[in-house]
């Protein structure tokens, strides 16, 4: 084992991120790595193949991502079975299934990059709900990586093990496991090329001084999506799972019936789920639904369809059964 590999974890912060003072706690260091990871995923150019393992299934995919002149675009397509593809850019997201000739297009959230600027990782909050440990270095896709594990302290969130590229902090391997250390899903690159954009122009990283209390832009017009930092739109969420708080609220119109939909984004700092609330003349999804590592749970309350969706255990979603619209009787 070379000197670099043995001392790398200890010198990591000092040598690779010179000039930045990093908190000594593992969660503080981890928060810093996570921010670098998020920046890498959005602001690098990369082309790679990876395998996606879930529910005893293994699938092969390819991703091609570019970031130039402040514009991000990505193509994600399957390498086995039907040639499914997802195209993303700053304007829209298109999902293609050629064999069945199905295409669906959704407009992108216009405020999503602004949202990231207000979402700073809180080391103290992370350490309350996860046991954070650096697990040394390893090698993935023929590149050196540093391994960080986030082990959940309860069954309301999944744990993560990240294998971050030593040079770019890009996640070359990403594992999600439950409270009993059972693997839920794994993404692992088998090969990848990484490079910095020639003309980045824009960074999605949070800037010093950004505060969650600042007003988010209100976007209207043809996309009919509006966001606000008012995290209360008349609903009383009882028994919210420990550690989760509402981080964002957006309102949009249903693409088919034009009814207003409220989306509340909950997060504990690492894991997140959304609760969607919309007027409905009948119950749609009631009870649970599962898609690999993703869970959903729906209830029908007083003419409203409530659906919670996210990469969290089902136990974290069932609280919406106790959600009520605020009236003089149940307002808090």
């Amino acid at each position: 084992m070379t000197i670099a590999r043995t001392v790398l974890p200890a010198c990591l912060i000092l040598s690779l991120f010179a000039g930045r003072v990093v908190a000594e706690s593992p969660s503080g260091q981890a928060a810093y790595w996570l921010e670098k990871m998020s920046q890498a995923v959005h602001e690098l150019n990369y082309d790679g193949h990876f395998v996606y393992i879930h529910n005893n299934n293994i699938e092969s995919l390819r991703t091609v991502h570019s970031f130039e002149d402040g514009q991000e675009s990505e193509r994600l397509f399957s390498q086995n079975g039907e040639a499914r593809e997802l195209l993303r850019d700053d304007v829209s997201m298109t999902r293609i299934m050629p064999r069945s000739k199905n295409i669906s297009t959704n407009p992108r959230m216009p405020d999503r990059t602004s949202f990231s600027a207000f979402f700073r990782l809180d080391p103290e909050q992370i350490s309350r709900h996860y046991d954070v440990r650096f697990q040394g270095s390893d090698r993935v896709a023929d590149r050196m990586v540093n391994v960080i594990a986030f082990t959940p302290v309860d069954n309301l969130r999944y744990g993560y093990r990240l294998f971050l590229d030593d040079e770019f902090a890009f996640p070359l391997q990403w594992e999600m496991f439950d409270h009993e250390q059972e693997l839920v899903s794994r993404i692992m690159f088998t090969n990848i090329t990484l490079s910095r954009p020639a003309n980045p122009s824009r960074s999605v990283a949070a800037k010093p001084g950004d505060a969650a209390g600042a007003e988010l832009p209100v976007m209207q017009g043809k996309q009919r999506i509006r966001s606000t930092n008012k995290l209360d739109n008349g609903w009383n969420f009882g028994d919210v799972p420990e550690g989760y708080t509402v981080r964002h609220l957006s309102t949009r119109n249903h693409p088919q019936n034009n009814q207003e939909i409220n989306q509340y984004l909950f997060s504990d700092g690492l894991s997140s789920f959304s609760v969607f609330i919309e007027v409905s003349d009948k119950a749609r999804l009631t009870g649970k639904a599962r898609l690999g590592a993703l869970n959903a749970y729906g209830v029908y309350v007083d003419g409203y369809q409530l659906t919670a969706v996210g990469e969290v255990p089902l136990e974290a979603l069932v609280f919406i059964s106790n959600t009520k619209f605020k009236t003089a009787g149940n307002a808090q």
Partner: protein, 195 residues
Amino acid sequence: MSLEQNTKLSALIDDELDNHEFNGINRQLEADSELRATLNRYIIISETIRGIPPEVDAASIASRVSAALESEPVVIAPGRIRQRGVPSWLKPVAGAAIAASVATLAVVNVTGLSTRSNTSEVFPVTAVNVQPAAVAPFASQQLAMPAATNWKTAADTPEIEEELNRLLIDHSEYSAQAGMHAMLPYASFVSYDQK
């Protein structure tokens, strides 16, 4: 961008515009960068459906158009309908020649493209196969019910699955920016489609 413009773009790719419509959309493409970006996306979608190997991004498509034009003879005949062969990778599903649209794409999408006449003027070419314009398959709103993605629910209906997929997409827009799921949050849309 209007639905009519999107319809025209789709018809352009399928070579289903008459002369007047072609010139009209051509002028709009010259002036509207957003419209050009939409056209690039439609091309990618069209190629994907036809099983054409993917390129990295839209700009590379324009480069391929440029390279193809360099190797293809072009006859410029203002006001006349002409025919020419097109690269096999650019043939639309309908199978009709799309010479005019290829030239238009090259001129409006590629900066510094070397044209036949060494000018930056638009080729005054015309569409070849005049057919009634079809309804645009690539309108910006939801086009079709996506195939089931194997959500496991008590009520296994396409409507429920489509609803869940839509909510998952909306959720991923924010979870991709926040916390842990900056890493390929959309892989599930591509990978879960097998029953």
